[in-house]
Symmetry: D3
Subunit: 185 residues, 6 copies
């Protein structure tokens, strides 16, 4: 029956506070197995003048862009082949690992690699999952691919899943798995 | 600078409490962007006689088996072809979705399907990720497959990822993606 | 030396909060025997966006009409023979138990029963006591009756006490004791 | 959705803490109208070395005998005509007010007054209600009287109600109403 | 790793709250030896309607003039020979103890005593230290004296220290030590 | 009416906790001017497994030797001319400033300087005051000196005051003022 109180310095939006309540609820539920109704979360906001740590008054950190939102921005930019925008989502040491174990460090490499494979491709998302750990966040998304093969015929319903590691509001890696090989077989 | 206090009824193990502290820390970090050092989590344990909700004294819920642990139990049982044990991990409505979009509801179906594909297979895990939401937990694991083809030759290093949905300490679905098709191509 | 903190969702009036402080003080005093000066009550109000139970944000319940106030409204309406208003204070299964063990379910029955007893009657209240338990509230009021007998002579100073059970802002029963029988003797 | 935390110095029995939780729940419910399930009460016990008020460490007050229990002790002693024990429950300025407005300050006066009225009497209790306010506690009990008239005939089912004021674990007044007059009429 | 929460009734200035945070931090640091970064202080302000002690609502005490500030006002007034203002800082039973153990109860006595010693004198402050205990506050200040001897020659750099006891925003004693004797030797 | 709650990791002695309560009380009193009776301090101790900051479990800091105690150890060692023990109380950059502005960095220098001044000396302490700030602690002690002059005559009642700066359980400076010059004059 966890009762959770979280003290925050004032300044986070209502949406951010609600997300915090949900994540704290989910965290407590996942560990304790308490029934949902037994989990209470309360946020107590203090003006920054009323909070001191280490004898220093603090200002609240800026709420970061949510990892799943960042991933969607990247994926949308890639879908629109807006490489500049897509790159703005990436960390310097970003790497991509594609089916067959092909690795890229630049978006252009991946695009070049795809050219002999299909004319166009579109990701249809079924679900985003986000996980959090001591290294930051991991975002998975899965769904189906549709598009046009090189010969002009269409394809659709090809299963895929992507895994992104997010650190400090930048993507540091993308891993891709899909059924394209199955289809080609 | 979130300061989180979680009141629990006494009875959770030290390991469970530590996991709770970590998850609450991660949840707070993910939403607020606060520096790690600024996130404090404190657990205040009360004897059950000191907690009442709805004018009823409560006993603590039993800490559930962690979703990633349950997934590992299932995968180990499957690896050892201990179907009875593997089935004990599954919800009644468990479904499996395999490369190419093949769907099974029984473990035996999947084993039958695999027979003309390889003699043996082994999963080598690189990482487990667990995500929590209002429906329960999702566990992803990825790594490489190794084993023996039907012709007796060995394979290894084939990338895979699995996604499990966990509800009430049972697996309700498994989705599998891998590079086997890539290899066969 | 109880120190009581009560978290409330914002929206209760100052008067309601003061009443809550008094009742919590009285409750703590009654059980612990602590000296008044050692009992501190603090109310911490949170905006509704800062409170979540069961992964659902909540809005505060509407402060109910206080049981003693409801009883006074009923008694005043009866005194003014405003039966419509009096009935609006009653639960569907309201019952009245009068001296001699006479029971009524309708206000009109009681009025009929009283006709051969006195021309008019008025209750003069000395004190209202309210008690709270798991079934709701109980309100007692006592004082003296004055009025006119059928023969036109006046009476006054006849002791009475009423007990009302209040559930969900409605009266479910009234029990009446008084000294009329003593006087008639 | 009140969440109440009460800090106590260690030393109160589990029964006392449960009663405190119930009374705090009832107090919060009575004022806010919150649904039972939305009312959480938590007691945080501190060793006396961990509590200081006014720069003085305190020891917990002794939990008082509950007013309703004190009243029952008095009533049982009176029923057994154990006047010494009954008197030990009374404050120095104890007064009794009986049907017809008869007032006594000594138990013996009341017994004398009863002699020409009945041979014996017994109270059968239906319910005790206790109310708390700034002056202490009020206990009401009601039920029926049974016994023997002077002529040896029996009586039973005569309604009564008693009201006791309790201050500092002593009774300071008793007020009695009953239907004896009705019966005699 | 102390985490300190201080509930205050609203009404103290931001400067007062910051000072409170610093003093609570220093107090916790001095006793526990915790690293600065491990000490968190949070002030939770409640409207006065949300605080009750002893069943009485309270208003916040007026923040007192800080002892070191009071001492500076007194010293500045003495430096300017504004005796009226200086006296307004003193408790009725104020006493002064000067080098050689000379004691005064009136400012005029001290001035008279100084006349054959120097024409003028000025205190140059290096540091004020304030200590707090159950009797109130103690303020020390030290630095050097400069001025003019009776023969017109100047002096400077003569070390001094003053100790003031402050009770209820008034000075109750001043003790003075300095190196004037050393110099005269 | 400050109500202060301090969460500590278990492991501090009762004496340390009491001292913490007193210092927090004094700090709150000094800033808010609240009446003593209105200041409540509560210490909530958590096992170290129940406290996490920065996703790291912490152990409590060892309670430091109190500055005034350290000063007394140093002064006692000096009185007994136990230089080894006295030096163990000193920081590496310890400095002494004596009447007349004489500065030493080694205890031996001071002893040498004193030789032509008196045969023996003893400090009689009237009071120790300790002050805390962001740099650590300051301890003042004052009282009177007694001893024997070089010519064998005795002295007593000579006023003195010492000021020690304490950082990390070592003395970093001692400043001394006294009336010896006054007496020699």
């Amino acid at each position: 029956m966890p009762v959770i109180t979280c003290v925050l310095i004032e300044g986070y939006s209502e949406q951010t506070r609600r997300l915090l309540e949900e994540r704290l609820t989910d965290a407590a539920r996942s560990v304790t197995g308490a029934p949902w109704d037994g989990i209470t979360v309360m946020i107590n906001e203090l003006p920054d003048a009323n909070y001191m740590r280490g004898r220093i008054e603090r200002i609240p950190a800026k709420a970061p862009i949510q990892p799943a939102v960042l991933v969607q921005q990247f994926l949308n930019a890639m879908g629109a082949r807006d490489l500049a925008k897509a790159k703005s989502c990436l960390a310097e040491d970003f790497t991509m690992l594609f089916p067959g174990g092909v690795e890229f460090t630049e978006l252009e490499q991946m695009i070049e690699w795809a050219k002999p494979r299909y004319q166009s491709i579109k990701k249809n998302y079924e679900k985003f999952d986000d996980a959090f750990d001591k290294d930051g966040a991991v975002v998975y998304c899965f769904g189906t691919l549709s598009g046009q093969w090189l010969d002009g015929t269409n394809f659709e319903g090809i299963r895929f899943v992507d895994r992104f590691r997010v650190v400090d509001e930048k993507l540091t890696s993308q891993r891709v798995w899909n059924d394209m090989g199955e289809i080609r077989v």
